[in-house]
């Protein structure tokens, strides 16, 4: 009991304590006018900005969130299909896997402007960029997961009279889940980066767009408020993936 309490204390309280201390020192330094407010606004100013423009900020956060969710959805859908097909067919694996890996060398920063020229400054280009950035970890996660073998279990299922479909549904897909979820976790974080980069390069809405236009106007507290919102959103997204993972992976 006490041990549990101590564990919770160290997991939850300690990180909070350290960040509060840092924020507190930051606030004091701002009060003493150590930094120019337009260079580094005080924590209080950022929070005030967050509340004053909450509708404006929230509306744009929804845009970014929409791009991320739709992009991720398609990445999960098509990534799983390709990952699955590559385990079934050596031909598909040989013809796709090298290019899939090579494609990761191309920085999204280089690709984004072209995609924005092709698909416009609207939502579609952002969704495509989120899709591209999260497709790889998901596809590889499924692919590697399905190749994870447990021959003893597979043989046991065969002696029970299981057909191939049953071996996949009872055993292989379950064995692939941990690897799939690691891929999805990576994808969920990088998809946020993808969306913001894409908005930064060319858009009319979204948190990335706010950051881009507010900087040159010296609305630094608005930039910081966006960053805060974005990091909260990214953490929640990660948490969502973790909770889903817990639901799917039992008894381990």
């Amino acid at each position: 009991m006490t041990n549990n309490f101590l564990k919770n204390f160290s997991v939850i309280i300690l990180p909070l304590l350290s960040s509060f201390t840092l924020i507190f020192i930051w606030q004091i330094l701002s009060e003493l006018q150590v930094f120019e407010p337009w260079l580094l606004p005080s924590p209080l100013a950022i929070i005030t900005e967050l509340f004053n423009s909450k509708q404006f900020l929230f509306r744009h956060m929804l845009v970014t969130a929409f791009e991320i969710f739709i992009g991720l959805f398609f990445a999960i859908f098509f990534g799983s299909i390709l990952g699955f097909s590559m385990t079934l067919s050596k031909i598909l694996e040989r013809s796709f896997l090298p290019y899939l890996i090579a494609s990761q060398v191309i920085p999204i920063f280089a690709l984004a402007p072209i995609l924005i020229v092709w698909f416009g400054a609207g939502l579609l280009s952002k969704i495509i960029i989120v899709f591209l950035i999260s497709f790889f970890p998901i596809c590889i996660g499924i692919f590697d997961g399905l190749r994870r073998k447990n021959n003893d279990m597979e043989n046991l299922l065969k002696t029970m009279g299981a057909n191939n479909y049953q071996i996949y549904s009872i055993l292989k897909i379950k064995l692939a889940l941990p690897s799939f979820f690691s891929g999805l976790k990576v994808a969920s974080v990088s998809s946020v980066i993808g969306a913001v980069v894409a908005e930064w390069i060319g858009s009319k809405a979204g948190l990335g767009w706010i950051m881009k236009v507010s900087g040159p106007l010296f609305q630094t507290e608005r930039v910081f408020a966006s960053i805060l919102l974005l990091s909260i959103f990214a953490s929640l997204l990660f948490l969502l993936v973790k909770i889903t993972e817990k639901k799917f992976i039992k008894g381990v």
Binding site: M153, N155, L156, K158, T159, G161, L171, K250, G251, V252
Partner: protein, 202 residues
């Protein structure tokens, strides 16, 4: 090979005049091989689910046999919450529920300690009355062979490797005290002698 996972390179293995054995011989291995993400209940019902046999009758049948093996209290547990002996009992129940004519036990007790092993022997004696199936037990343990079998065959490696046969005429149900009777000792001596002979020929 007996279970049908592998086919022999020379000759044939036939069960009721068919070499198609997969799904017809229940196979239990040294490792418990329980699926960690399924509960005990889901694990033991797996062979029935695979063969689309999980009717309520079969479920009640499972409950009866789980009681005999003393695992009815653990049906909602996950495998990692059970001890090694208990896991093997669950694995045994799953093997029995497959409802095949033959059961193949491949050193199922090798990874257990001596006391747990003795316990499992008596569980097997108990359940044996209720299932009435042919069981092939592969083992390296002479006492285990005598205790559980009605018929012992000594094999060597290589071709034509049936070396020695010995019927065991001890009365069922057997319990741990049988291992210190003269009858048991004589059988053990006989088997040891023949094992040594087989070894020296090889």
């Amino acid at each position: 090979m007996i279970s049908g996972v592998l086919e022999p390179t020379v000759g044939e293995i036939k069960l009721n005049n068919s070499s198609n054995r997969l799904g017809k011989i229940a196979y239990m291995q040294q490792k418990d091989l329980l699926l960690p993400w399924l509960t005990v209940k889901e694990n033991v019902m797996l062979p029935l689910k695979i063969n689309k046999n999980n009717s309520i009758n079969n479920f009640n049948d499972m409950l009866d046999k789980a009681k005999i093996l003393g695992i009815d209290e653990y049906l909602e547990f996950f495998p990692h919450e059970l001890s090694g002996g208990l896991k093997q009992r669950v694995s045994l129940l799953r093997t029995i529920l497959q409802n095949s004519e033959f059961i193949l036990l491949d050193e199922p007790f090798a990874s257990l300690d001596a006391i747990t092993r003795l316990e499992l022997y008596s569980w097997i004696e108990k359940i044996n009355k209720h299932i009435n199936k042919s069981i092939i037990l592969v083992t390296h343990d002479i006492e285990e062979a005598i205790f559980l079998s009605d018929h012992v065959i000594i094999m060597s490696s290589g071709k034509n490797n049936f070396r020695y046969e010995l019927p065991i005429n001890l009365k069922h149900p057997r319990n741990a005290s049988i291992t210190i009777t003269d009858e048991f000792f004589n059988l053990k001596k006989l088997l040891l002698k023949n094992l040594r002979m087989v070894r020296s020929i090889d």
